[in-house]
Symmetry: C2
């Protein structure tokens, strides 16, 4: 492989000049610049990135830590972040933390080792609570989960508002006895639960709300209990896509019909929510936009480290479908 020294020799300039031309830093006379560019093209020279990174200590790499890329929410975000990154000549290092604080810590350490120029991070509740972005040598942008100490930029859904929207919608459709199931491990679940309780109060209703480990089986079990109880809720509101699946299975297993026996609403406009019968009413999150915004915050933070911390709240969109059809007599 040709090295910068070979290019310099062939172009009759110093390596410093080749470097300046290639990086666009420092002034270079037009003729020299052209000569260098020609030579680079003729020789098919490609700079050694490891050398460049060692010398400049800039890696053009960002880290993306999510719980699981197989969650469609994170899949979309990951795609958005990657699109933006490659567009900027940057690389993305994707890590799956599986909601495990140990893995989160491990990957954060990895990011330090990799000397990344920034991290986009979706933390568990515990980590979000004690997280101090200032201890890291790179900027951190939080996604999806509220951040505690206010030391990091963040882009999140307005979870409380979104949940209120769902409750108000249910109420307007005639539902009164509403139960909510929320993920216990995430700040998102907590925020949605708060919005839920508040919305119930504002509507003069009393409902039940519970925190449950966020997986399909746990949701299914909990919802089965609810459906068997004597004062079965008229409507269920669940805080994530996994619960939506669990709820669907529980309701079908109980031989109940949606929405006549029980209405069902939730979060995340995953492809399948429109394909089941009836379609499920959900809050669609602007996932791609969340990823893009996170990247923008990160890039801006690199430009202006001293700028005050920003939390961007994006609005969700209510998608009305059959699962919350208006209650008709009989």
């Amino acid at each position: 492989m040709a090295r910068i020294k070979d290019v310099a020799l062939a172009a009759g300039v110093s390596t410093a000049t080749v470097s300046r031309v290639l990086s666009g830093s420092g002034p270079v006379r037009k003729e020299l610049r052209e000569k260098v560019l020609e030579t680079v093209a003729a020789m098919g020279y490609r700079p050694n990135l490891a050398a460049r990174r060692l010398r400049s200590s800039r890696t053009q790499t960002i880290g993306l830590i999510v719980s699981d890329v197989r969650n469609p929410f994170f899949t979309n975000i990951s795609r958005a972040v990657e699109d933006m990154a490659y567009q900027q000549g940057m690389r993305v290092m994707l890590c799956n933390s599986d909601e495990d604080p140990k893995k989160e810590a491990l990957y954060l350490e990895l990011m330090e080792d990799e000397n990344v120029c920034g991290v986009i991070f979706s933390p568990t509740l515990g980590t979000a609570r004690r997280f101090d972005a200032t201890v890291y040598p790179f900027p951190v942008v939080m996604i999806d989960r509220p951040v505690a100490a206010g030391t990091a930029d963040a882009v999140i859904l307005d979870n409380q508002a979104a949940t209120r929207t769902l409750v108000d919608h249910l109420v307007s459709q005639g539902y009164r006895r509403i139960s909510g199931i929320f993920g216990s491990a995430s700040g998102t679940g907590l925020a949605r639960r708060e919005g839920f309780n508040e919305a119930l109060k504002q509507n003069g209703l009393t409902g039940t709300s519970q925190l449950v480990t966020a997986n399909v089986a746990a949701g299914q079990l909990e919802i089965s209990h609810l459906l068997e109880s004597p004062d079965r809720p008229e409507a269920l509101l669940v805080s994530n896509g996994l619960f939506l699946l669990g709820a669907l299975q529980a309701i079908r297993a109980a031989g109940l019909s949606i929405p006549n026996d029980v209405a069902l609403v939730g979060f995340d406009d995953d492809p399948w929510t429109s394909l089941v019968e009836p379609g499920l009413t959900v809050i669609a999150q602007p996932t791609y936009e969340i990823g893009r915004t996170a990247m923008e915050l990160l890039l801006q933070r690199r430009e202006s480290p001293e700028r005050p911390v920003r939390v961007v709240e994006l609005a969700g969109t209510l998608i009305k479908r059959g699962s919350s059809r208006i209650l008709t007599a009989g």
Copy 2:
């Protein structure tokens, strides 16, 4: 940050010894090894990866090029590859080529620049045809798509067999007039089409099969035409998840019912296929296993570059659901 020189000084050894201890290469007396390890721990020393990569020209990074990580098939593969990689102390660089040969070439070049130690690649048909793995300085393992010149290891589904399984199943359920829709851009689509035509012949049937650009809208359009034709097929076989969605929408739009008016079978056990009513009969691909196998092939290839090229064919699993229920009279 502490450098290896500081550790060496503090431990009273040379940097060479520290390096040997840390990399596990070369012999080091037990006492020295322990002293170094202690010092490293005490100082919290972390090696500079850029320097290590420059000097050793080993990056511990592999590239993964798929068409779109949002396709659940690739989402699962990406997760498997990442799990395996981090387990091995390696990194993954994920690229989305969007079935665009230009992006494929771009990312392959990027991989050279990054000096990755291997690439896992799901190429478009055209690229697969002209691809010569020997021109790259790293091993390449193909996934999902058949490879042409036989210069690269590959792990693929046995597409022909899987398609024959689907056809045989339809036939056993009583369906005779069967139409197939296959993706035109991928080798996968072609292989499945071959299996389809062969299976029809073996069953003494004549059906139609068409190649269509692999997206929901195109599939939907094509299937709408089929459904409107005077000799409407009794069953549809489609070659990917996008077509499955398009087919479902087309069938519903035509006011037809599955499977009484038309049966529907396809590929990929995406979550939603079991949730629609009726559930869709599909060939489930061992996606996670495909990713894991690809990584294994890559690691083994690094060990033994001269070993003959291997193509691993994994079997799909027929998941029978309501969409191909047995045809009953009336």
